[in-house]
Subunit: 243 residues, 2 copies
Protein backbone atom coordinates (compact mmCIF):
# COMPACT_ATOMS: atom_id res chain seq x y z
CA UNK A 1 0.00 0.00 0.00
CA UNK A 2 2.52 2.65 -0.97
CA UNK A 3 1.39 6.24 -0.63
CA UNK A 4 1.26 8.38 -3.73
CA UNK A 5 4.76 9.15 -4.94
CA UNK A 6 5.43 12.87 -5.22
CA UNK A 7 7.75 13.44 -8.15
CA UNK A 8 9.83 16.57 -7.92
CA UNK A 9 12.61 15.86 -10.33
CA UNK A 10 12.14 17.67 -13.59
CA UNK A 11 12.53 14.65 -15.77
CA UNK A 12 13.23 11.03 -15.03
CA UNK A 13 16.23 9.79 -16.91
CA UNK A 14 15.25 6.54 -18.53
CA UNK A 15 17.30 3.40 -18.39
CA UNK A 16 18.12 0.69 -15.90
CA UNK A 17 20.56 1.09 -13.06
CA UNK A 18 23.77 -0.86 -13.21
CA UNK A 19 23.88 -2.77 -9.97
CA UNK A 20 27.16 -4.36 -9.03
CA UNK A 21 27.73 -7.15 -6.55
CA UNK A 22 27.64 -4.54 -3.78
CA UNK A 23 24.18 -3.27 -4.61
CA UNK A 24 22.67 -6.40 -6.11
CA UNK A 25 20.44 -7.93 -3.49
CA UNK A 26 21.30 -11.40 -2.31
CA UNK A 27 17.74 -11.99 -1.08
CA UNK A 28 14.25 -10.97 -2.05
CA UNK A 29 15.04 -10.41 -5.68
CA UNK A 30 11.33 -9.89 -6.25
CA UNK A 31 11.61 -6.75 -4.14
CA UNK A 32 14.51 -5.33 -6.11
CA UNK A 33 13.65 -2.89 -8.84
CA UNK A 34 16.57 -1.90 -10.98
CA UNK A 35 14.76 0.97 -12.50
CA UNK A 36 16.25 4.39 -12.68
CA UNK A 37 12.90 6.17 -12.77
CA UNK A 38 12.00 4.61 -9.44
CA UNK A 39 15.35 5.66 -7.97
CA UNK A 40 14.83 9.23 -9.16
CA UNK A 41 11.29 9.35 -7.77
CA UNK A 42 12.38 7.97 -4.41
CA UNK A 43 15.34 10.34 -4.05
CA UNK A 44 13.08 13.24 -5.02
CA UNK A 45 10.64 12.40 -2.24
CA UNK A 46 13.03 11.56 0.62
CA UNK A 47 13.77 14.60 2.78
CA UNK A 48 16.36 13.08 5.11
CA UNK A 49 18.69 10.32 3.93
CA UNK A 50 21.31 8.42 5.95
CA UNK A 51 24.98 8.57 4.96
CA UNK A 52 27.28 5.79 6.11
CA UNK A 53 30.96 6.67 6.30
CA UNK A 54 34.00 4.95 7.75
CA UNK A 55 35.82 6.82 10.51
CA UNK A 56 39.12 5.83 12.10
CA UNK A 57 41.91 3.71 10.70
CA UNK A 58 42.85 0.03 10.80
CA UNK A 59 41.50 -1.80 13.83
CA UNK A 60 39.73 1.34 15.03
CA UNK A 61 37.83 1.89 11.78
CA UNK A 62 34.07 1.67 12.15
CA UNK A 63 30.98 2.96 10.38
CA UNK A 64 29.11 6.09 11.40
CA UNK A 65 25.66 6.89 10.02
CA UNK A 66 24.54 10.51 9.76
CA UNK A 67 21.20 12.00 8.75
CA UNK A 68 21.71 14.29 5.74
CA UNK A 69 19.75 16.55 3.43
CA UNK A 70 20.12 15.64 -0.23
CA UNK A 71 19.42 16.90 -3.71
CA UNK A 72 19.72 15.21 -7.09
CA UNK A 73 20.89 16.90 -10.26
CA UNK A 74 21.18 15.53 -13.77
CA UNK A 75 22.97 18.53 -15.24
CA UNK A 76 26.30 17.90 -13.51
CA UNK A 77 29.39 16.05 -14.74
CA UNK A 78 28.40 12.66 -13.27
CA UNK A 79 26.88 10.26 -15.78
CA UNK A 80 23.58 9.00 -14.36
CA UNK A 81 23.26 12.04 -12.16
CA UNK A 82 24.79 13.49 -9.01
CA UNK A 83 23.49 13.22 -5.48
CA UNK A 84 24.59 16.37 -3.68
CA UNK A 85 25.39 16.62 0.03
CA UNK A 86 26.56 19.67 1.90
CA UNK A 87 27.99 20.40 5.31
CA UNK A 88 29.94 22.97 7.23
CA UNK A 89 33.62 22.80 6.32
CA UNK A 90 34.12 22.52 10.10
CA UNK A 91 32.12 19.27 10.30
CA UNK A 92 34.41 16.50 11.46
CA UNK A 93 32.99 13.88 9.13
CA UNK A 94 33.86 15.71 5.93
CA UNK A 95 37.52 14.67 6.15
CA UNK A 96 36.50 11.02 6.64
CA UNK A 97 34.79 10.98 3.27
CA UNK A 98 37.83 11.84 1.15
CA UNK A 99 38.99 8.87 -0.91
CA UNK A 100 36.76 6.45 0.92
CA UNK A 101 33.68 4.58 -0.26
CA UNK A 102 30.45 5.75 1.34
CA UNK A 103 26.89 4.41 1.34
CA UNK A 104 23.85 6.66 1.10
CA UNK A 105 20.51 5.07 1.98
CA UNK A 106 17.19 6.84 1.47
CA UNK A 107 14.08 5.22 2.91
CA UNK A 108 10.39 6.04 2.88
CA UNK A 109 8.08 4.19 5.24
CA UNK A 110 4.68 3.46 3.66
CA UNK A 111 2.97 1.32 6.26
CA UNK A 112 2.99 -1.11 9.16
CA UNK A 113 2.15 -4.66 8.10
CA UNK A 114 0.23 -6.42 10.90
CA UNK A 115 0.04 -10.13 10.15
CA UNK A 116 -1.61 -13.04 12.01
CA UNK A 117 1.79 -14.20 13.30
CA UNK A 118 4.74 -12.26 14.70
CA UNK A 119 6.94 -13.87 12.07
CA UNK A 120 5.07 -12.25 9.18
CA UNK A 121 4.90 -8.77 10.67
CA UNK A 122 6.68 -6.39 8.36
CA UNK A 123 6.73 -2.86 7.02
CA UNK A 124 5.90 -1.45 3.63
CA UNK A 125 8.72 0.78 2.48
CA UNK A 126 10.82 1.98 -0.42
CA UNK A 127 14.57 2.24 0.04
CA UNK A 128 17.45 3.22 -2.22
CA UNK A 129 21.08 2.33 -1.56
CA UNK A 130 23.81 4.27 -3.37
CA UNK A 131 27.46 3.26 -2.98
CA UNK A 132 30.45 5.18 -4.24
CA UNK A 133 33.09 7.78 -3.59
CA UNK A 134 32.18 11.40 -3.14
CA UNK A 135 33.65 14.06 -5.35
CA UNK A 136 34.43 17.32 -3.55
CA UNK A 137 32.74 19.94 -5.70
CA UNK A 138 35.18 22.77 -6.40
CA UNK A 139 33.71 24.41 -9.50
CA UNK A 140 31.96 27.63 -8.45
CA UNK A 141 29.02 27.23 -10.84
CA UNK A 142 28.42 23.63 -9.82
CA UNK A 143 28.67 24.54 -6.12
CA UNK A 144 26.10 27.30 -6.52
CA UNK A 145 23.76 25.07 -8.51
CA UNK A 146 24.11 22.22 -6.00
CA UNK A 147 23.28 24.47 -3.05
CA UNK A 148 20.25 25.86 -4.91
CA UNK A 149 19.12 22.29 -5.56
CA UNK A 150 19.41 21.41 -1.87
CA UNK A 151 17.18 24.38 -0.97
CA UNK A 152 14.73 23.55 -3.76
CA UNK A 153 14.64 19.92 -2.68
CA UNK A 154 13.19 21.13 0.63
CA UNK A 155 10.93 23.82 -0.83
CA UNK A 156 10.68 23.64 -4.65
CA UNK A 157 11.28 27.02 -6.28
CA UNK A 158 12.54 28.71 -3.14
CA UNK A 159 16.15 29.34 -4.18
CA UNK A 160 14.99 31.78 -6.89
CA UNK A 161 13.30 33.92 -4.23
CA UNK A 162 16.42 34.30 -2.05
CA UNK A 163 19.51 36.49 -2.23
CA UNK A 164 22.55 34.65 -3.63
CA UNK A 165 24.99 33.17 -1.09
CA UNK A 166 27.80 35.42 0.09
CA UNK A 167 31.45 34.61 -0.49
CA UNK A 168 31.78 33.92 3.24
CA UNK A 169 28.85 31.51 3.23
CA UNK A 170 30.24 29.66 0.22
CA UNK A 171 33.67 29.41 1.88
CA UNK A 172 32.07 27.90 4.98
CA UNK A 173 30.19 25.21 3.02
CA UNK A 174 31.55 21.94 1.71
CA UNK A 175 29.66 20.44 -1.22
CA UNK A 176 30.03 16.77 -2.11
CA UNK A 177 28.72 14.87 -5.13
CA UNK A 178 28.00 11.15 -4.96
CA UNK A 179 27.59 9.78 -8.52
CA UNK A 180 24.32 7.89 -9.04
CA UNK A 181 26.15 5.08 -10.79
CA UNK A 182 26.01 2.15 -8.37
CA UNK A 183 22.56 1.98 -6.83
CA UNK A 184 19.67 -0.30 -6.07
CA UNK A 185 16.08 0.17 -4.99
CA UNK A 186 14.19 -2.22 -2.74
CA UNK A 187 10.58 -2.08 -1.66
CA UNK A 188 7.79 -3.94 0.05
CA UNK A 189 4.18 -3.13 -0.73
CA UNK A 190 0.80 -4.70 -0.20
CA UNK A 191 -0.85 -7.05 2.26
CA UNK A 192 0.65 -9.33 4.88
CA UNK A 193 1.77 -12.71 3.60
CA UNK A 194 0.25 -14.99 6.21
CA UNK A 195 0.61 -18.75 6.35
CA UNK A 196 -2.58 -20.55 5.18
CA UNK A 197 -3.15 -22.18 8.58
CA UNK A 198 -3.03 -18.78 10.28
CA UNK A 199 -5.58 -17.42 7.81
CA UNK A 200 -7.82 -20.42 8.50
CA UNK A 201 -7.54 -19.82 12.24
CA UNK A 202 -9.09 -16.38 11.70
CA UNK A 203 -8.07 -13.04 13.13
CA UNK A 204 -7.42 -9.65 11.61
CA UNK A 205 -4.46 -8.80 9.41
CA UNK A 206 -3.77 -5.78 7.28
CA UNK A 207 -1.78 -2.63 6.77
CA UNK A 208 -1.70 0.64 8.70
CA UNK A 209 -0.72 3.09 5.94
CA UNK A 210 1.73 5.83 6.91
CA UNK A 211 2.80 9.04 5.29
CA UNK A 212 4.65 12.24 6.16
CA UNK A 213 2.23 15.13 6.49
CA UNK A 214 2.86 18.87 6.81
CA UNK A 215 1.03 21.14 9.23
CA UNK A 216 0.33 24.82 8.67
CA UNK A 217 3.53 26.82 7.99
CA UNK A 218 4.63 28.61 11.18
CA UNK A 219 6.09 32.07 10.45
CA UNK A 220 8.73 33.64 12.67
CA UNK A 221 8.01 36.92 14.45
CA UNK A 222 9.36 39.12 11.63
CA UNK A 223 7.46 37.52 8.73
CA UNK A 224 4.72 39.20 6.71
CA UNK A 225 1.24 37.74 7.25
CA UNK A 226 1.05 36.00 3.92
CA UNK A 227 2.83 32.68 3.45
CA UNK A 228 4.75 32.84 0.15
CA UNK A 229 3.53 30.62 -2.73
CA UNK A 230 6.60 28.32 -2.64
CA UNK A 231 6.18 27.48 1.05
CA UNK A 232 2.39 27.19 0.77
CA UNK A 233 2.72 24.85 -2.23
CA UNK A 234 5.25 22.72 -0.38
CA UNK A 235 2.98 22.32 2.63
CA UNK A 236 0.03 21.54 0.35
CA UNK A 237 2.04 18.94 -1.57
CA UNK A 238 2.78 17.30 1.78
CA UNK A 239 -0.90 17.09 2.61
CA UNK A 240 -1.52 20.28 4.61
CA UNK A 241 -5.13 21.37 4.25
CA UNK A 242 -6.26 18.02 2.87
CA UNK A 243 -7.83 17.06 6.20
CA UNK B 1 8.81 22.64 16.44
CA UNK B 2 9.06 19.02 17.42
CA UNK B 3 5.89 16.97 17.20
CA UNK B 4 4.52 15.40 20.32
CA UNK B 5 6.74 12.55 21.43
CA UNK B 6 4.90 9.26 21.73
CA UNK B 7 6.46 7.29 24.55
CA UNK B 8 6.02 3.58 24.30
CA UNK B 9 8.77 2.29 26.54
CA UNK B 10 7.41 1.22 29.91
CA UNK B 11 9.73 3.32 31.98
CA UNK B 12 12.55 5.65 31.16
CA UNK B 13 15.73 4.65 32.92
CA UNK B 14 17.12 7.75 34.51
CA UNK B 15 20.70 8.89 34.21
CA UNK B 16 22.92 10.47 31.60
CA UNK B 17 24.36 8.62 28.67
CA UNK B 18 28.08 7.98 28.64
CA UNK B 19 29.27 9.46 25.40
CA UNK B 20 32.75 8.56 24.27
CA UNK B 21 34.89 10.37 21.74
CA UNK B 22 33.01 8.47 19.04
CA UNK B 23 29.60 9.74 20.03
CA UNK B 24 30.52 13.09 21.54
CA UNK B 25 29.72 15.74 19.01
CA UNK B 26 32.57 17.83 17.75
CA UNK B 27 30.23 20.60 16.65
CA UNK B 28 26.92 22.06 17.79
CA UNK B 29 27.31 21.07 21.40
CA UNK B 30 24.18 23.06 22.11
CA UNK B 31 22.28 20.51 20.04
CA UNK B 32 23.64 17.53 21.93
CA UNK B 33 21.49 16.20 24.72
CA UNK B 34 23.17 13.54 26.76
CA UNK B 35 20.00 12.51 28.36
CA UNK B 36 18.90 8.91 28.54
CA UNK B 37 15.23 9.74 28.77
CA UNK B 38 15.41 11.55 25.46
CA UNK B 39 17.21 8.60 23.88
CA UNK B 40 14.56 6.21 25.16
CA UNK B 41 11.73 8.44 23.91
CA UNK B 42 13.31 8.82 20.49
CA UNK B 43 14.00 5.11 20.05
CA UNK B 44 10.44 4.36 21.14
CA UNK B 45 9.02 6.63 18.46
CA UNK B 46 11.25 5.75 15.49
CA UNK B 47 9.75 2.99 13.35
CA UNK B 48 12.60 2.51 10.88
CA UNK B 49 16.22 3.07 11.91
CA UNK B 50 19.35 2.85 9.76
CA UNK B 51 22.09 0.35 10.60
CA UNK B 52 25.60 1.00 9.32
CA UNK B 53 27.82 -2.05 8.97
CA UNK B 54 31.19 -2.69 7.36
CA UNK B 55 31.25 -5.25 4.57
CA UNK B 56 34.32 -6.61 2.83
CA UNK B 57 37.88 -6.83 4.07
CA UNK B 58 40.97 -4.64 3.86
CA UNK B 59 41.01 -2.31 0.87
CA UNK B 60 37.56 -3.52 -0.21
CA UNK B 61 35.91 -2.77 3.13
CA UNK B 62 33.18 -0.16 2.93
CA UNK B 63 30.06 0.82 4.85
CA UNK B 64 26.56 -0.34 3.94
CA UNK B 65 23.49 1.28 5.49
CA UNK B 66 20.30 -0.76 5.84
CA UNK B 67 16.83 0.25 7.03
CA UNK B 68 15.87 -1.88 10.04
CA UNK B 69 13.01 -2.36 12.47
CA UNK B 70 14.05 -1.97 16.10
CA UNK B 71 12.84 -2.53 19.63
CA UNK B 72 14.31 -1.48 22.96
CA UNK B 73 14.24 -3.58 26.11
CA UNK B 74 15.51 -2.77 29.58
CA UNK B 75 14.98 -6.26 31.02
CA UNK B 76 17.84 -7.92 29.15
CA UNK B 77 21.45 -8.53 30.21
CA UNK B 78 22.82 -5.26 28.74
CA UNK B 79 23.33 -2.49 31.26
CA UNK B 80 21.61 0.62 29.97
CA UNK B 81 19.26 -1.44 27.81
CA UNK B 82 19.35 -3.49 24.64
CA UNK B 83 18.39 -2.38 21.16
CA UNK B 84 17.11 -5.46 19.35
CA UNK B 85 17.39 -6.11 15.63
CA UNK B 86 16.24 -9.16 13.75
CA UNK B 87 16.70 -10.61 10.31
CA UNK B 88 16.43 -13.78 8.35
CA UNK B 89 19.37 -16.06 9.08
CA UNK B 90 19.78 -16.10 5.28
CA UNK B 91 20.35 -12.33 5.12
CA UNK B 92 23.84 -11.70 3.82
CA UNK B 93 24.56 -8.81 6.16
CA UNK B 94 24.18 -10.82 9.35
CA UNK B 95 27.62 -12.40 8.97
CA UNK B 96 29.20 -8.95 8.46
CA UNK B 97 28.07 -7.86 11.92
CA UNK B 98 29.93 -10.51 13.92
CA UNK B 99 32.82 -9.05 15.88
CA UNK B 100 32.60 -5.71 14.10
CA UNK B 101 31.51 -2.33 15.38
CA UNK B 102 28.23 -1.09 13.94
CA UNK B 103 26.39 2.23 14.07
CA UNK B 104 22.63 2.48 14.46
CA UNK B 105 21.09 5.87 13.70
CA UNK B 106 17.44 6.66 14.39
CA UNK B 107 16.06 9.93 13.06
CA UNK B 108 12.72 11.71 13.26
CA UNK B 109 12.07 14.65 10.97
CA UNK B 110 10.03 17.38 12.68
CA UNK B 111 10.00 20.17 10.12
CA UNK B 112 11.46 22.04 7.17
CA UNK B 113 13.17 25.29 8.22
CA UNK B 114 12.73 27.90 5.48
CA UNK B 115 15.03 30.85 6.17
CA UNK B 116 15.58 34.16 4.33
CA UNK B 117 18.87 32.86 2.89
CA UNK B 118 19.78 29.51 1.40
CA UNK B 119 22.62 29.25 3.91
CA UNK B 120 20.26 29.18 6.90
CA UNK B 121 17.81 26.68 5.46
CA UNK B 122 17.74 23.66 7.74
CA UNK B 123 15.55 20.92 9.15
CA UNK B 124 14.14 20.33 12.58
CA UNK B 125 14.89 16.78 13.65
CA UNK B 126 15.84 14.48 16.47
CA UNK B 127 18.50 11.85 15.87
CA UNK B 128 20.15 9.19 18.01
CA UNK B 129 23.46 7.53 17.18
CA UNK B 130 24.34 4.25 18.92
CA UNK B 131 27.77 2.67 18.35
CA UNK B 132 28.86 -0.76 19.53
CA UNK B 133 29.14 -4.43 18.80
CA UNK B 134 26.08 -6.60 18.43
CA UNK B 135 25.57 -9.61 20.63
CA UNK B 136 23.97 -12.57 18.83
CA UNK B 137 21.07 -13.50 21.09
CA UNK B 138 21.12 -17.25 21.72
CA UNK B 139 19.07 -17.61 24.90
CA UNK B 140 15.61 -18.90 23.98
CA UNK B 141 13.75 -16.72 26.49
CA UNK B 142 15.58 -13.57 25.44
CA UNK B 143 15.01 -14.37 21.75
CA UNK B 144 11.28 -14.83 22.32
CA UNK B 145 11.05 -11.64 24.36
CA UNK B 146 13.05 -9.66 21.79
CA UNK B 147 10.84 -10.78 18.91
CA UNK B 148 7.71 -9.90 20.91
CA UNK B 149 9.19 -6.45 21.56
CA UNK B 150 9.82 -5.92 17.86
CA UNK B 151 6.17 -6.73 17.09
CA UNK B 152 4.95 -4.55 19.99
CA UNK B 153 7.21 -1.70 18.84
CA UNK B 154 5.17 -1.63 15.62
CA UNK B 155 1.77 -2.25 17.21
CA UNK B 156 1.85 -2.02 21.03
CA UNK B 157 0.19 -5.00 22.69
CA UNK B 158 -0.07 -7.05 19.52
CA UNK B 159 2.32 -9.90 20.42
CA UNK B 160 -0.03 -11.03 23.21
CA UNK B 161 -2.83 -11.53 20.66
CA UNK B 162 -0.79 -13.81 18.35
CA UNK B 163 0.15 -17.48 18.44
CA UNK B 164 3.72 -18.07 19.66
CA UNK B 165 6.42 -18.47 17.01
CA UNK B 166 7.04 -22.00 15.75
CA UNK B 167 10.38 -23.76 16.15
CA UNK B 168 10.91 -23.41 12.40
CA UNK B 169 10.24 -19.66 12.49
CA UNK B 170 12.63 -19.19 15.42
CA UNK B 171 15.32 -21.19 13.62
CA UNK B 172 14.95 -18.95 10.56
CA UNK B 173 15.35 -15.73 12.56
CA UNK B 174 18.58 -14.13 13.75
CA UNK B 175 18.22 -11.82 16.75
CA UNK B 176 20.92 -9.27 17.57
CA UNK B 177 21.28 -7.03 20.62
CA UNK B 178 23.14 -3.73 20.42
CA UNK B 179 23.88 -2.48 23.96
CA UNK B 180 22.64 1.08 24.60
CA UNK B 181 25.94 2.01 26.23
CA UNK B 182 27.61 4.37 23.78
CA UNK B 183 25.04 6.75 22.37
CA UNK B 184 24.29 10.37 21.70
CA UNK B 185 21.21 12.37 20.79
CA UNK B 186 21.22 15.45 18.59
CA UNK B 187 18.33 17.69 17.66
CA UNK B 188 17.34 20.95 16.03
CA UNK B 189 14.10 22.66 16.99
CA UNK B 190 12.52 26.06 16.57
CA UNK B 191 12.69 28.94 14.14
CA UNK B 192 15.19 29.75 11.41
CA UNK B 193 18.30 31.60 12.60
CA UNK B 194 18.50 34.35 10.02
CA UNK B 195 21.23 36.99 9.80
CA UNK B 196 20.01 40.39 11.06
CA UNK B 197 20.48 42.08 7.67
CA UNK B 198 18.28 39.44 6.03
CA UNK B 199 15.58 39.99 8.63
CA UNK B 200 15.78 43.75 8.00
CA UNK B 201 15.46 43.16 4.26
CA UNK B 202 12.08 41.54 4.90
CA UNK B 203 10.62 38.37 3.49
CA UNK B 204 8.99 35.34 5.02
CA UNK B 205 10.77 32.74 7.12
CA UNK B 206 9.44 29.95 9.26
CA UNK B 207 8.93 26.26 9.74
CA UNK B 208 6.78 23.74 7.87
CA UNK B 209 6.06 21.21 10.62
CA UNK B 210 6.10 17.54 9.60
CA UNK B 211 4.91 14.38 11.21
CA UNK B 212 4.21 10.76 10.31
CA UNK B 213 0.49 10.14 10.14
CA UNK B 214 -1.48 6.90 9.84
CA UNK B 215 -4.44 6.39 7.55
CA UNK B 216 -7.33 4.02 8.19
CA UNK B 217 -6.17 0.42 8.76
CA UNK B 218 -6.62 -1.60 5.56
CA UNK B 219 -7.74 -5.19 6.29
CA UNK B 220 -6.85 -8.06 3.98
CA UNK B 221 -9.59 -10.08 2.27
CA UNK B 222 -9.87 -12.65 5.08
CA UNK B 223 -10.15 -10.25 8.02
CA UNK B 224 -13.25 -9.80 10.17
CA UNK B 225 -14.94 -6.42 9.75
CA UNK B 226 -13.83 -5.02 13.07
CA UNK B 227 -10.29 -3.65 13.42
CA UNK B 228 -8.81 -5.09 16.66
CA UNK B 229 -8.17 -2.65 19.53
CA UNK B 230 -4.35 -2.87 19.28
CA UNK B 231 -4.29 -1.91 15.60
CA UNK B 232 -6.97 0.76 16.04
CA UNK B 233 -5.08 2.27 18.98
CA UNK B 234 -1.85 2.29 16.99
CA UNK B 235 -3.45 4.10 14.07
CA UNK B 236 -5.09 6.58 16.46
CA UNK B 237 -1.77 7.23 18.26
CA UNK B 238 -0.31 8.05 14.86
CA UNK B 239 -3.00 10.60 14.17
CA UNK B 240 -5.62 8.62 12.27
CA UNK B 241 -9.08 10.11 12.79
CA UNK B 242 -7.71 13.38 14.16
CA UNK B 243 -8.46 15.20 10.90
Amino acid sequence: MPTQTTKMTQASHAGPLSPTARTTLTRSRDRAATDRAELDALLAEVLVAHLGITVGEGEDAHPVVLPVAIAVDHDGPDEGGSLYLHASVAAGWISSVRGRTVCLTATLLDGLVAARSGFHHSMNYRSAVVIGRCRVVADADERARALDRVVDHMVPGRSATLRPPTRKELAATAVLALPLAEASVKRRAGEPKDDPHDVEAGGWAGVVPLRTVAGAPEPDAWSPAEVPPDVAARAAALGHGQG
